[in-house]
Every structure is written in C-alpha cells, then in structure tokens.
Amino acid sequence: MSTTLSPPRSAAASTAEQRGAIITFEDVAIEFEEKMVLDGVSFDLKQGETKCLLGIAGAGKTTILKLVLGLIKPDRGRITVLGEDVSAMPEEELFDLRRRIGMVFQESALFDSLTVEENVAFRLMEESNLPEEEIHRRVVEVLRFVELEHTLSKVPSELSGGMRRRVAIARAMVSEPEILLYDSPTGGLDPITSTTIIELIVKQRDVYKTSSLMVSHRLQDGFMMASHYFDTAANEMRPLALASRTDVHTTFLVLRDGKVIFDGTLAELAASRDEYIREYIA
C-alpha cells in the first residue's frame, strides 16, 4: 500500500494561517557589511490587505521585499509566505513560490533587450504551455489595464519613466499573483505621473483585491491609497467620503533604524504621539 506524505509544515506557518496572514515576519534580523539593516522586525500581512512600508532611505524597506521573495536570507528570525517558510527554503524550491508573487522593482528592472510584449509575457512563456494567441490576449488585456496597449512592440528604452513603471506593474500582475510587492513605484517620477501610478495600484487593489506590500518614502502615496477607492463604473480613483464605511484594507508600517516603530491604520498613524512619527508625517 502506498501512502502520500505531505511536506511537514512548520508550527509558525500554521499559526500565521490561523491569524489569516499570508506573510509573517517573526523577529527578523539581517545585516550587511556589519550594519544592522533589520533588527527584530515582526509583522503580518493579511489576505486582501495592502500595507505601506514607510521610512527614510536606508531604513530597510526594500530589504523586506527581497526577504519576502527569498532573494536574500535573514540572519535571524522566520519569514512565512503563503504558508511556506522562505527563510529555510533552498533556491530551487523558491522558484515555484515566486511564481505566485508579483514584484515591481524600484527602477522597473525591465529586460532591456526584450519588447514590452515579451517583457510582460515573460512569466507566461516560461511557466506555462499556453498557446501564443492566449499569451498575446492576456498581455494585451493587462497592458490595457495599465493603459499601455499601444506599446506592445516598443523596447523599454523607448518609454518614459512612468510608462516603464506601468509596464513593470503589468508584468507583475499578468499571471494573477496572490501577492504583489511594489518597491517605491513612484520613486523618481513627477507628481502627476506618481498619481497615475498610485491610481493604478488602487485600481489593482480594489478590482483584483490582491494582497500587497508597498514600499514608499513618499508619505502622500500611502495617504492617497488609504483615503481613496477605485470607482469601476467611472473608471477613476475617488476620495472616500468622510462618513464612508468603506474599508480599503490599507495599513501602515513605519521603520526606523531597522525596527518597526508603528504598525496600524491611517487613523492610528495620524493619532500617534510618537515624536519621530509626528515629525515624519508633519
């Protein structure tokens, strides 16, 4: 008689799932060149939640995203993503998990020798046996979502910074990932383009309801996300009414010197009496 054995799941992973968390950091620490970048970081990201990671440059925000993907390993602590302990997984096994996560890099990180269509289709062409017509259809659909369906045959160098960022968002969401990670999606962009990008992220959040972590050093990005919703009928982002009971499931995490100094909602952030936070949001 043969029996099928499922892989052992850690107690931490089970506890995280019981809390409804799809990403859990427990006492995570990492140092680079003898500098402590993260020191005892713990937090949860719940299903359907969008969490804005705020902090000054060098606070360890991008490091958190890379740790989620297993691109780097922590020196201490445990990271559970979609029920898997990524801090203990070998690189070979991480590839399967990464296919369930989308990442938008700070400088877009588009493949410069490939066209926009090839960039967006990259994951579909790598992992599936989908026919070319189906891949093309899905690429056009997702590029239409970011309003760039006319750029299929262009290469990244022919696009503006904002357009590259939108293509990167399209590439991250083409395979309908369970988690989206945004690394400073508005970094280096002008205010109008930044608003367009935030509108896209809000649209993604409210239409597909994908759980996401967004790193930003621009406080207004987080505030805009927490105070706006996407009106699908009007196809635009609108501010939440003051008396609105709509929950946009957006929370904030503030980092300082590698430690979490705040984890909560916009209202709690605004009401914080912490001196550093008051100065940061002022």
Partner: protein, 258 residues
C-alpha cells in the same frame, strides 16, 4: 585604498573559488533538468560561433603564415625546407589552433558575457528574473556554456584548416615550395593522437570562457564601474585559465595517448 588582512583576502579568494565551482557545477547539472532553453542556446551559438568567425579565420591564417615564415629559415639551414607543411600542420592542430582560438574567443565573448550579465545584475534584471520564477543559471548560463563548448570545437577546426592554408600560401608564394609536397607533408604527419589532442582542448576552453564570463557578470556590483571591472577580470581570468589548463591537459593527454 583600504588594506585587507591576508586572512580576509584568503577567505575572499576561497569564497570566489567556491562560488565559481558551484556556478560551473550548476551549469552542467542544468543539462539534465527542465526547462531546456534551446532557442537561447541557438542564439548564443550564433553570437559566439558565427560572430567570432572572422577574427578566428584572420588569426588562424596569419598564425599559419608566420609559422611557415619563421620555421623556414631554421629548416633551410638543415636542408629540410620540405618539412614546412609538417611543422605548420602539427603546430596548428596540436597547440596554436586551439589556444589562439580560445584566447580570441575569450577576448570577444567572455567580456561580452560579463558585460551583458553584469549590466543585468546592476539594473536588477537578474533579481527580476529570479522574482519571476526563472532560474538565471538555467536561462542565461547553461545556454552560453553549451554554445561556447560546441562552437569553439568547430571554430578550432576552421582555425586549424585556415592556418595550414596560410602556411601553404607562404610556402608556395614566398618559399617556392611545391604545393603537392606541402599538402602531403601537412596531411601525412598528422596522426589520430594529434587530432584528438587538438580537439579535446577546445571543449575545456569553451567551458572556461562561458563559466568565467558568466561568473564575473553575475558577481558584478557597483554600477557601470563594477561592470567594467567584471569585464576586464573575465578576460584576464579566462585567458590565464586557458593557458594554464592547456598545460595540464597537454600533459595529461601526452601521458594518456603515448
């Protein structure tokens, strides 16, 4: 300039050797797993093989020609000018063909691989590839290794042939040797062991060129300056490794064949 202690330096070098060995091992191990990137391998074969053809032909031709010129004066002293064909063909097939082709391809392609992968590394494209669930060693390294090994093998054959042709031009046009005599000497002096030795070496050299080029590319840090440094290091390391490996492979093959 920051001074590093000898023990730290030794650790760094040892770590580099370990990383290189792991990458080289994975590049071979990937051949036995999925996915296999045939289109990428063919594209690399075109870049490495067809792209290097002109420099390999020129190098081979002039090496064979100058070999005939240089040896003719010595051979003439012993009244053995008729052996020019033998000297050229043996030297080209056993040593100069594989080594010079290896060095030329290293100069052209190890640098190309290091700069391409280095640029991808510093612009986070390699991280993006990993984040998209694709193993860069499977997608980028293994196709380059396969293409370099296969194409260097054929480029060496072409270089040998063109080199003997270069020697022929000098022998007939400058030294006034009989064409038939040159080709007969060149052909008859070659034994199986010479061809085996000459065609075993490019397999090692191709592997060195691709793995060293990819290793330095994937280790590039620190922006454009880092990419430039990786490119230079790739050419230097692959050239030195080719020359050192050539000695040991020759020694082993001589002991094994004879």
């Amino acid at each position: 300039m920051e001074l590093i202690s000898p023990s730290e330096l030794a650790k760094e070098k040892l770590h580099a050797v370990q990383e290189y060995s792991l990458l080289a091992g994975r590049s071979v191990g990937n051949l036995f797993g999925h996915p296999r990137y045939l289109a990428d391998t063919l594209q690399q074969a075109d870049i490495i093989g067809v792209g290097s053809l002109s420099i390999v032909v020129l190098t081979g031709f002039f090496t064979g020609a100058v070999l005939a010129l240089q040896t003719s004066s010595t051979l003439q002293q012993f009244g053995s000018l008729s052996l020019t064909g033998q000297v050229v063909s043996l030297s080209m097939v056993r040593e100069l063909g594989p080594v010079l082709t290896g060095l030329m391809v290293a100069g052209r392609n190890a640098s190309g691989m290091a700069s391409e992968l280095g640029s991808m590394m510093v612009t986070e494209q390699i991280d993006a590839m990993r984040a998209l669930g694709t193993d860069p060693t499977k997608k980028l390294v293994t196709p380059r290794v396969v293409a370099a090994v296969v194409m260097l093998f054929f480029l060496t054959i072409i270089s040998d042939l063109v080199g003997v042709g270069g020697g022929f031009m000098v022998a007939t046009l400058v030294l006034n040797l009989d064409a038939n005599q040159y080709w007969t000497m060149a052909y008859q002096s070659l034994a199986f062991k010479d061809v085996l030795m000459g065609l075993t070496k490019p397999v090692f050299f191709g592997f060195i060129i691709a793995t060293v080029g990819c290793y330095y590319g994937l280790s590039a840090r620190g922006g454009t300056q880092g990419v430039g440094r990786a490119t230079t290091q790739a050419v230097v390391a692959s050239s030195v490794l080719i020359l050192a490996t050539n000695f040991f492979v020759t020694k082993l093959l001589i002991a094994w064949i004879t």
